[in-house]
């Protein structure tokens, strides 16, 4: 009977999924390799001073540069960047660059994680109240969207100033908390939207069913709406994680906090004319940070994988 044939198929489906996992990893590696090859190929083929259109002879900086410079100061070799990671951070007996980058990355990751948690909490709360009361959705949603238009650079010093004021008035407010709050400002947005859409995801029939069981708001929320929102929630959490890292890096720079990877990036970029490969260290560091952040969320997704099943149509 076809019932049994259908019931047996998930095993095959799981095998296909694992196969796809390896293929995905291979494609990912190929992508990284392709970027490296293109970088080196352009560096090899492109003119050392780039291509500039409409430059006035003798006047530096005039005209429009359409192809970047390829000399070693502008574009270090990939292997130079990698080798630089294992050389002392700032000469002498200082630890290798990779260690300093890792330490700074941990500091930033900690702040981003706190920012992510605050952002997820606030975003979920906003999503919940907007789903519960339509009026609040109409009132809040435009402001939530507008909030993301305010540039972080303008907003960060304000948070920092408020933080300092609180700190001075007696309640301790460390600088990293300001960074976390700024990071949460970017993180809450996708969560609020994702939760709102997710909570409204259940089919009419499921809502009717819960009504027929005389289930109240909370029972419907926990048994139906929250589980049904998981497929919408997971991408939102991943976006929030990436945003939190980005927010933390930018916040560090704009409020001048030491110790994190953002500050380190700016510092090393300032010395790039004498040490062009050095800023690539924190740059790789922040890429790894983003991957760790997104990967942690993927782990959450793995734990919730039962909630990502779709009901097969009859």
């Amino acid at each position: 009977m076809s019932d049994f044939a259908r019931a047996a198929s998930p095993v095959a489906a799981r095998r296909r999924t694992t196969g796809r996992g390896w293929t995905a990893a291979a494609w990912g590696a190929l992508g990284i390799l392709a970027v490296a090859v293109i970088w080196e190929l352009y560096k090899f083929l492109g003119p050392a001073d780039g291509v500039t259109i409409g430059a006035t002879p003798g006047e530096t900086g005039s005209g429009v540069m359409i192809l970047p410079r390829t000399h070693d100061r502008a574009m270090p070799h990939i292997w130079t960047m990698v080798a630089r990671l294992f050389e002392p951070t700032s000469g002498g007996a200082t630890p290798p660059l990779v260690v300093t980058v890792a330490q700074a990355a941990v500091v930033t990751l900690g702040m981003a994680a706190v920012g992510w948690l605050i952002g997820v909490a606030v975003g979920m709360l906003l999503g919940l109240v907007m789903q519960r009361w339509k009026l609040l959705e109409w009132g809040l949603l435009p402001w939530i969207v507008v909030s993301q238009i305010v540039p972080l650079i303008a907003f960060a010093p304000v948070v920092n100033a408020i933080g300092n004021q609180i700190d001075r008035s007696g309640t301790p407010w460390p600088q990293w908390l300001s960074v976390a709050v700024i990071a949460s400002y970017l993180a809450f947005f996708p969560v609020a939207i994702g939760v709102l859409r997710g909570l409204e995801a259940p089919d009419r029939i499921h809502v009717d069913l819960m009504r027929s069981y005389a289930a109240g708001y909370w029972a419907t929320l926990f048994r139906l709406r929250l589980p049904a929102s998981v497929p919408h929630l997971l991408p939102a959490l991943r976006l929030a994680a990436a945003n939190a890292v980005l927010g933390a890096v930018v916040a560090e720079v704009s409020i001048g906090m030491r110790g994190g990877i953002g500050r380190m990036l700016i510092q090393l970029a300032g010395q790039a004319s004498s040490d062009p490969a050095a800023p690539w260290g924190p740059m790789f560091g922040s890429i790894v940070l983003g991957l760790i952040a997104a990967g942690s969320v993927a782990l959450i997704g793995f734990g919730l994988k039962n909630y990502r099943r779709g009901e097969a149509t009859a």
């Binding site: 259908r6 019931a7 198929s9 027929s212 048994r223």
Partner: protein
Amino acid sequence: MTTATTTPASTLAVQATGVGKVFPTKAGDVTALTGVELEVRAGEFVSLIGPSGCGKSTLLRLIADLDEATTGELTIFGKPARRARIDQDYGIAFQQAGLLPWRTVAANIGLPLELHKVPKAQREARVAELAELVGLTEFIDRYPDQLSGGMQQRVAIARALAASPKLLLMDEPFGALDEMTREYLQGELTRIAAETGAAVVFVTHSIPEAVFLSDRVVVMSPRPGRITDVVETGLGSVRDESLRENPAYFEKVTAVREALHGAKVERANER
């Protein structure tokens, strides 16, 4: 509160007097149902049949208190529809199985019990019993996406029966299934209805299905939605495959068909 005193009204599973439903729309009010008089006795199997737009699903939703009647009075076992819903006096199944995809078969069947705080041991026993009743004992730990459409629909029926309701409301539950599965489940449903002694209100647009299953077939007609005829099938309590070849069955199929056509329905532009 009157408890278990068998007044004549409470022996009726459903009693509708002058029930009407009007949906307000931008283009003006649409009368979905008007003047519905219907009585369903306890343990009786009644089908509602008619073309799309005749209000048969609307009537079912009113009985289930998923929508509220605009006019008239609707009582379920002698209580208002709202009270009956809160007391879990009915179980309901729709055209889509509507299983929660993140729950196993067992957890889906047990959902209504879980919501009403039935203790775990009792719940498990009841779920096992229901799985047996719909023939899904081996599949109790599967997830809905691992089941065929017919099996999903059987889970939905088991779930509707979970709280042992004395009334089962079904809105074209077999409408999306292939003919073979459909006939098989029709047989199963008559057996289950007989075993549980529940009254059934069954919405369908298939004449043979209505006749095969029902004690009475209520024929409805659109614009405005209303009951135009009621056909007693009188086919007895045993409904097996041999009934499908029985002349008495064909006679009733013809009777229902004539009742539908007599209602002057513009069939070509329905559906």
